[in-house]
């Protein structure tokens, strides 16, 4: 029996919190911070080497707080350890260039990927790890709990309750981890109102709020203009619907954000309905509110959608379709990235999305040389969760194709959908992913692979569908991939005889094997061919951002 340690303090985080709050109070700060004094507050409550969570995803951004933090005095604030979903804004990178922060744990960097890579090579930044969203959220509750979090909300009331509106996104996960482990929560809000439409974060979890000089930035990331969908994408969408969706009866799913899957969404009311698939596929979704899904919703093909975040311009449409979307008592959407990612991982039978490169083992990556970007939620969406236990027809069929009739588990369908060449004739199918060179040049532990080959079940290209579940040897798998790799060097190096055998066994299927006439692959099959068509389908409820308009 050890005596209680008299020296060990058991409430140091709480004391730290108290110390910071007292410093703020001594400077005259109350819960509401005058906009021009925000820097002063940050310098008072953040301490060197603190772990700071800066809210921002590929949609909503706490941009005002990010700029304020980047403007702080590096002699007072330095060596911060930033933990954040996305490194997207210039000010995010400024933090490191100015010496305010030195370590980073994140999930996705998008447009700042090039600057980030240079900082790593110049040793101005230490990367803890590149996570998936769920891993990062998980670590907020394990060993990366923030001392301070800087979040974004739509509105605040005088008591300090927050309304996050349709773009709730990551806020609940961040606030929960911070507020209940002695941390400090600071919110930027677009407006102070007398009465909130609903309370998304209760006031006693929020320490300070500031009204930002301009509304927080939101990127319309999931708006795909149907005008840009090509005939080839229509062909691939037809093959996917007939050869995978119909075949497995996929009802619960997640789609990537590219034009390939937008084409599928726009064929649901036309081609899929013509095949008699309405109600048999695509009824339940973990998905952002894609405007290209409006025609399918209006045609009665969709029953439910839970979303990671919202989408600019979709607010009124969502509010008017509360049977489909998750909305609050006020009528507006409530999104939640952590829950939707969990749904995408465990509750969906299929993920289908695009990528930039695929190797002969089926590994795929969007990583390109000279950029560190991470993959956000895609690796979780695009993986077979071994912890899953509940069965569904699609999951069982896939499991039995892989493991035979006595398989003791099912398989999630993980589908990669690509044209064999990207723009400028860059081949998608390659002998070796650029990820390996990136690993070397950046000194990473692992190559940045988005979706591991052993999770991929199908590859769809303009040449056909390869069903990797049915391959029995690594050689078969390789030839199945080469067999749909078209005229890329990888595709041309196929063993023609073996590919023909795989086709006989149904492992490779061409458009003609599926009874699809490529000449029907025409944009006329799309339920909407312009953003304006989407507005019409929505009965005028969808209000697209001006950059997507031609009226």
């Amino acid at each position: 029996m050890n005596a209680p340690n008299p020296i060990r303090a058991w409430d140091s985080r709480r004391q730290g919190r108290q110390r910071r709050l007292e410093r703020a109070a001594s400077l005259g700060f109350e819960r509401r911070i005058a906009t021009p004094r925000i820097k002063e507050l940050l310098e008072a409550v953040i301490e060197p080497r603190d772990r700071v969570c800066l809210e921002g995803n590929n949609q909503k951004q706490a941009d005002f707080l990010s700029e304020a933090l980047a403007d702080c005095n590096p002699e007072r604030l330095h060596d911060l350890h930033m933990v954040q979903s996305v490194l997207a804004l210039a000010s995010h990178v400024d933090l490191f260039e100015r010496g305010i922060a030195s370590k980073l744990d994140f999930s996705f960097s998008g447009p700042q990927g090039g600057r980030l890579a240079r900082l790593v090579q110049d040793r101005q930044i230490e990367i803890g790890a590149i996570h998936t969203y769920l891993e990062l959220f998980g670590r907020y509750f394990v060993d990366l709990t923030p001392n301070v979090c800087l979040i974004a909300a739509q509105a605040v009331d005088a008591a300090g309750n927050l309304y996050t509106g349709p773009n709730t996104e990551d806020t609940p996960a961040i606030v929960e981890a911070t507020a209940f482990k002695g941390g400090i929560v600071i919110a930027q809000v677009n407006e102070l109102v007398d009465k909130l439409p609903r309370v998304d974060v209760p006031a006693d979890w929020v320490d300070f709020y500031v009204v930002a000089p301009r509304p927080n930035y939101i990127e319309p990331l999931f708006t795909r203009d149907p005008a840009q969908i090509t005939d080839v994408q229509v062909l691939m969408a037809m093959m996917a619907l007939k050869g995978i969706y119909a075949e497995y009866g996929v009802k619960r799913l997640n789609h990537g954000i590219g034009f390939d899957t937008a084409a599928i969404e726009l064929l649901l009311p036309t081609y899929a309905t013509e095949l008699g698939l309405k109600g048999k596929i695509c009824t339940h979704w973990a998905l952002n509110p894609h405007p290209t899904l409006i025609p399918a919703i209006e045609s009665g093909c969709v029953e439910s959608i839970h979303s990671f975040g919202s989408e600019v311009g979709m607010e009124n449409y969502i509010a008017a379709r509360s049977d489909i979307f998750f909305t609050g008592a006020d009528g507006s959407m409530r999104s939640n990235r952590a829950f939707s990612q969990t749904a995408g991982l465990y509750a969906c039978d299929m993920f289908i999305g695009s990528t930039l490169q695929i190797d002969l083992a089926g590994n795929s990556s969007t990583a390109t040389l000279g950029r560190i970007t991470g993959f956000g939620g895609a690796p979780n969406m695009g993986s077979d969760p071994h912890g899953r236990r509940h069965a569904s027809p699609a999951w069982l069929k896939a499991g039995r194709e892989a493991g035979g009739p006595d398989a003791i588990r099912g398989r999630k369908l993980v589908v990669q959908m690509v044209e064999t060449f990207r723009e400028h004739m860059a081949p998608v199918f390659v002998e070796e992913l650029d990820a390996w060179k990136l690993k070397e040049s950046m000194g990473m532990d692992l190559p940045p692979i988005m979706i591991y080959g052993d999770d991929v079940t199908h590859i769809v290209t303009e040449e056909g569908i390869a069903n990797l579940l049915l391959c029995r040897t690594p050689e078969e798998r390789e030839q199945a991939i080469r067999g749909v790799a078209g005229f890329t060097p990888v595709g041309m190096a196929r063993d023609r005889k073996m590919v023909e055998q795989l086709r006989q066994r149904g492992i490779i299927r061409r458009a003609e094997d599926l009874g699809i006439d490529p000449r029907r692959a025409n944009r006329d099959l799309l339920a909407a061919r312009s953003v304006k068509d989407l507005v019409r389908w929505s009965g005028g409820l969808y209000a697209p951002p001006t950059r997507f308009r031609n009226w």
Binding site: V232, E419, T420, F421, M425, G486, F487, M492, R519
Partner: protein, 104 residues
């Protein structure tokens, strides 16, 4: 720009139209014109393409098409603005469909 010329032997096509044009010379797209040729069991192809250095791929794409469809007795001319093989294959199928009146 690169000019490419190919000749393939193929089963004869049965034309329903004197000539067929498909596609537009726009970014990532191409136009293809099919006309009667001089030899019944051969197809000649002349290509003007904005992208240099892809002769081998063009040859493979069209050889593959000629092996799968009756295109003998035709002269094919292509003006290309960076169409991918996927687009080329689709346009070839569409143009041949128009030229033969849907019978392949």
């Amino acid at each position: 720009m690169e000019n490419l010329e190919f000749r393939f032997t193929a089963h004869p096509a049965r034309p329903a139209a004197g000539a067929a044009l498909c596609g537009v010379v726009g970014s990532g797209n191409m136009e293809i014109l099919i006309r009667p040729g001089d030899e019944a069991d051969a197809c000649t192809v002349s290509i003007k393409t904005s992208a240099r250095g892809f002769g081998k791929i063009w040859e493979a794409v069209i050889a593959d098409f000629a092996s799968r469809h009756p295109v003998g007795g035709t002269r094919i001319a292509i003006n290309d603005m960076g169409a991918t093989p996927a687009v080329v294959t689709l346009r070839l199928a569409q143009a041949l469909g128009d030229y033969t009146g849907g019978a392949q």
